[in-house]
Subunit: 242 residues, 2 copies
DNA sequence: CGGATTTTTGATAGCAATCAACAGCGGTGG
DNA sequence: CCACCGCTGTTGATTGCTATCAAAAATCCG
């Protein structure tokens, strides 16, 4: 076992100590779920993980099909989406780098996982990961805390989808992106209007109209298509809160 | 420690073996989360649990306030609800007997927990429970699986709230209640029209109109206010699926 | 520059919310 | 026993918001 890790380590330039090759260069190694593992745990996990790339638009898992993989998002952005019987779509979650994806302990995926941008992931076979998580309590614990947080987020979003007006929804999304980016009073939208609509449960026309209304009210400015300046963040938040 | 458990056991009539007093008589002891614990684990957990009752309408935890308790629902039904800034409400979850409630590992409750009917619960102090869960991997694992299932449910509901028509929503709710009750082709609604509306993101009038439309189409019958007969379950399911 | 794509704006229609009135039911008390 | 009241649920009329359909404007990209 030790020889194994040693061999992997030796095969990578610049890998210090006993970090597995792939993990040493991992862009999210301090924030992904694996960061709760010690070196031997990491070595064991990395043995059945591998990196893959997705092009924008590519789907990793399909709703209702067997969920073969779980893993971490390294770069890019993914969406989780569900469809009605006749094809209406709703985005039920957005995945950012270092977020965990997939459905451990469940055979079929309850939603599709699709790349919104080009993306790279570190994936594991689901059954192998399940077994690993059962043996390593730290991973289970970390997964639990992340899942609880996701559940809170999903429930909060239910309120938005069912009770908020179009403007309130758009304001909420801007506030959330601004909070995540934390870049002060201006943000770069990583989403098309269509994607905003899919997230908010609105059409692109309604998203556009809501943005125009916020702009005309002077609360935001839209210097370019993908840029939003928050002129009066307080007011925006007040609208977002309903 | 052993003496302690022994003492509790002795204090209760009819308690067999080493089962903690309260657990021996627990109505959900085979299905609540504690059922993954061995006897010593149960004894340790029961030491800081206690039973409480709630009257219909009483609130156990308030949205945004400190979440002091977690626990299991023993009987009755609870709702989890979130409010917008100006008071619009959405029910984000329904709690049935043997379901776990509360938000471990988080200081404040992201939603309110309120009794829909008279209810009894087995509650634990949150911080004590958190510590216990960290030490007992089996509980953490069980919590994780439940939380993942809840997350799936919540995301599925997001699709309903954002993309389905009033009729489709009402049909979905009836199907879900029928599936859970599993009582064949007739169900007793445990909800008022108002509660159905709060769950579905609709007004009572719209719920009522949707029910009459389904009735007029011959898909269901409403022999009394609280009873629904599924005349054509297949068609109802087709409507529910959108 | 020019064609394709995305976004905005406009006109209209449809669905559910709102406002309002009425019906059914159970309980209370004369 | 029945009149009265309060509550829940149903039905009707109207309004308002968002989807839909359509077209113009802006942006992107070769």
């Amino acid at each position: 076992m030790y020889r194994d890790a040693k061999a992997r380590e030796a095969s990578v330039e610049g890998a210090a100590f006993a970090l597995p090759s792939s993990c040493a260069a991992c862009p999210v190694r301090d924030s992904a779920i694996c960061c709760v593992l010690d070196q031997s745990g990491l070595a064991a996990l990395s043995r059945f993980g591998r990196r893959i790339s997705l092009a924008a638009g590519q789907t990793l898992l399909w709703e209702g099909e067997e969920a073969v993989a779980v893993g971490n998002l390294l770069s890019g952005m993914l969406k989780l989406s569900a469809l009605t019987g006749d094809g209406r779509e709703q985005i039920v979650g957005i995945v950012h780098p270092s977020d965990f994806i997939g459905r451990p302990f469940g055979k079929e995926s309850p939603y599709s996982v699709t790349a919104l941008t080009d993306a790279t992931l570190c994936v594991f076979g689901r059954t192998a990961f399940d077994a690993f998580a059962r043996e390593h309590a730290a991973i289970g614990q970390a997964l639990l805390e992340r899942t609880l947080t996701e559940l809170d987020r999903a429930r909060h979003w239910m309120l938005l989808l069912s009770r908020k007006s179009a403007c309130e929804r758009v304001a909420s999304l801007i506030v959330e992106i601004a909070d995540r980016a934390d870049g002060g009073s201006a943000i770069d939208l990583p989403l098309t209007r269509q994607q905003m609509g899919d997230i908010l449960g609105l059409t692109i026309e309604t998203v556009s109209r809501s943005l125009t209304r916020l702009k005309r009210a002077g609360i935001i400015s839209l210097p370019s298509l993908r840029r939003i300046v928050l002129n009066r963040p307080g007011e925006l938040r007040a609208i977002a809160d309903g």
